[in-house]
């Protein structure tokens, strides 16, 4: 114990350049990353009317009790989890399919153009993209229903119908985000060991078998990273709701982030922070759980 303590100054001396370089960024993370989170959690335990005052009134778990007793919050949480599950599955599946298509030889000429096309929505401004989607889903003159009508198909309710609004948003967000996950897969596919594929081919493995037993296991770390990132992203879904649906119709897209924002808008800071804290806890637990699960099953 004593020797270990004595070794610290030597370690600091030896690595002082490292610590000197890291210190500013660590400070930034503390001040702009962790401190606001701590403050936000703190607000969740205060009375809304005094939350922003120098002497807030502490109310213990009252905000959490109120939030958890609110049927609209429980419904909101359920819709958020459902939306996240669907969006994560769809995005990862499409990204993998895109990556295989763009990483293979099927598209020869123009491959670069397709890669650019799939990634462009990621760098396009969120709000502008979702405004276009909102216009496309418009029930009176939107492109989607114009296309369906020209094909003799019935109209799609889009974001105006409680029954179709969830898939409508999943599609809009798929357009927005799938490029990012695709690029992660594509980049790592260039690092795959070609000898394994070659060996499987010589052994007579078909296309599906090679994908299932050779490619997929090698991409497991990227699938895990993409999944965790997607879970975090879709649990916090906000912009698409603000721009396209405002939580409607009939609260079908009243996801937790948006509901908390509405509470903030009504100056119910305590309840809003309690909702945000619940969501934060879910994000942490799910992200950590997924990592742990992925690590446990990873080949050694």
């Amino acid at each position: 114990m004593g020797a270990a303590v004595a070794a610290w100054p030597a370690l600091l001396r030896r690595e002082r350049l490292f610590y000197a370089l890291v210190l500013p960024f660590a400070a930034l993370v503390l001040v702009f990353g962790l401190w606001p989170i701590v403050q936000s959690i703190q607000v969740a335990f205060t009375d809304s009317y005094t939350a922003l005052s120098p002497e807030p009134v502490w109310v213990g778990l009252a905000n959490f009790e109120r939030v958890l007793a609110d049927p609209y919050f429980r419904a909101s949480l359920g819709r958020t989890l459902l939306y996240t599950a669907i969006s994560v599955a769809v995005n990862i599946a499409f990204a993998l399919a895109y990556a295989l298509l763009l990483g293979g030889t099927l598209i020869g000429r123009g491959n670069g153009l397709f890669r650019l096309a799939v990634f462009l929505p990621v760098i396009a401004p969120d709000v502008a993209g979702f405004i276009v989607w909102k216009w496309m889903y418009n029930q009176s003159f939107g492109a989607v229903n114009t296309l369906l009508a020209s094909l003799g198909l019935p109209p799609f309710g889009g974001i105006a119908d409680p029954a179709t609004v969830l898939p409508a948003l999943v599609v809009a967000e798929l357009w927005k985000h799938v490029g990012f996950y695709t690029i992660v897969f594509l980049t790592n596919m260039t690092l795959l060991d070609p000898a394994l594929d070659e060996a499987a081919r010589i052994d007579g493995a078909g296309r599906w078998q090679r994908f299932r037993h050779v490619v997929l296991p090698q991409l497991r770390p990227e699938i895990l990273v993409n999944t965790v990132y997607a879970v975090i992203q879709f649990l916090k879904t906000f912009t698409v709701v603000v721009v396209m649906t405002k939580g409607g119709p009939n609260f079908q897209t009243n996801f937790v982030s948006y509901y908390a924002y509405q509470k903030f808008d009504e100056a119910l800071y305590g309840e809003a922070a309690a909702m945000a804290t619940v969501l934060f806890a879910i994000v942490i637990v799910l992200a950590y759980g997924l990592y742990a699960w992925g690590e446990r099953g990873a080949p050694r």
Binding site: S140, F141, K246, G247, P249, F251
Partner: protein
Amino acid sequence: MDGRAMRLSRRFALGAALTVGVGFAGAVPAAELVIWHDLGDNGVNWFKEVAEHYRKVDPSVSITSVSFPTDQWFGKVIAALNTNTAPDLIFNNYERVIRIQTQTGKVMDLKAELPKEAGFLGPQDLQMATYKERMIIFPVQRVQMAFGARKSWLEKLGEPFPATWTDVLRVAAKFRDGDPDGNGKADTFGLALQAAKPRDLIHMLDLFTFGSGLSHTLVDPSGKVTLGEPCHKTVLVEFLKAFTDYGLVAPDTVNHSFGEMYQVIEGKRAGMFRVGDWNVRKWDTPEVLGGDFVIGTWPAFAPGDQTAVVIGGMRGVAVPENAPDRARSLAVAKFLLGPEAQKASLKYVGASVRSDFDMSDPGLSERRLQFAKPRHALEAYDFPESIHPWYPEVEAELHKRLLAAIAAPPEDWGAFVDQLAVEMQALVDAKRKA
């Protein structure tokens, strides 16, 4: 400016100067007073002109206004008042200042400060400025909202301005089906409404309710829910049917808030809509509606209804108790009731609380004059939140129930409203007990 207005102007100027003088005997250091509002460019230009006029009264004071989006205004004002970093003055709708007061308790009681010359403020104006027996604002701008219709569309389809709900239904169907804009496409709607956010739907219902002469949308001052009463029931059922059975609004209206509603109106796709006094200046310009609309009272739902233009609010100026320079803030607040500031208010924002000056000066159009010198009956909101502290929660619940009904329309609207009234009464009773 006529003689009376000139005399009043002098009195206001004198009063303002005296207030400053009492607070600052001797040498007066220069000061910059800051007003936080949410009126956008119109408000910024209005306060700029007010500042120029005020400089003649007190050259040591300059006035700067900062406009925030409404939600940001709330957050900033509440935080500033609670942390003793308040601006000199805040300006907004009465009900928003109520919220500031309930969340901070630091909005000054202006009752003793109201200038004696402010006789142009009626009892309704003063009632709207008062919350829990405190005058939390000086009323500066009446917020009037009328019913509007596209003039050229009415002429093309040979219809007069709709006076009754039956007229509205007939005209709206023609607007929807009769290609009133002549572009050969079925892309027009009878009405522009909004239903996305909690306040959107109730706000529109308020207009139809008060505009037809009723006094309460949901609950009366004694706590009795009014939804099930025959007149209220008719308005509510017909209002909900406009979204559903009648199909008079754009199908996307369930996702429409103010921004989207304005897009429908200003995009020339709706034939009838709400016209706020602050809308007219913009809608008179050739780039928007070019003045191609007529305004009037809200439709009558039953014979004998006393229809009206609705006073949907009162914008006013409030002084934070912890304002850095309260004496000067008060002087400027009083100055906003003076004729120069009021005339400039009409010019830039389209609303005022007085009209005892030459109206030709600001150069108002016929539509703006209808608000500036109302010839129609006015019916004010009842502002139940100033009587019942639990009202916002009950109203939010009503909004949720109405949205659910629009999403899945009931077979029998009458039975739905009866049941809704019973449930809302139970909720109100529970809130009152709590």
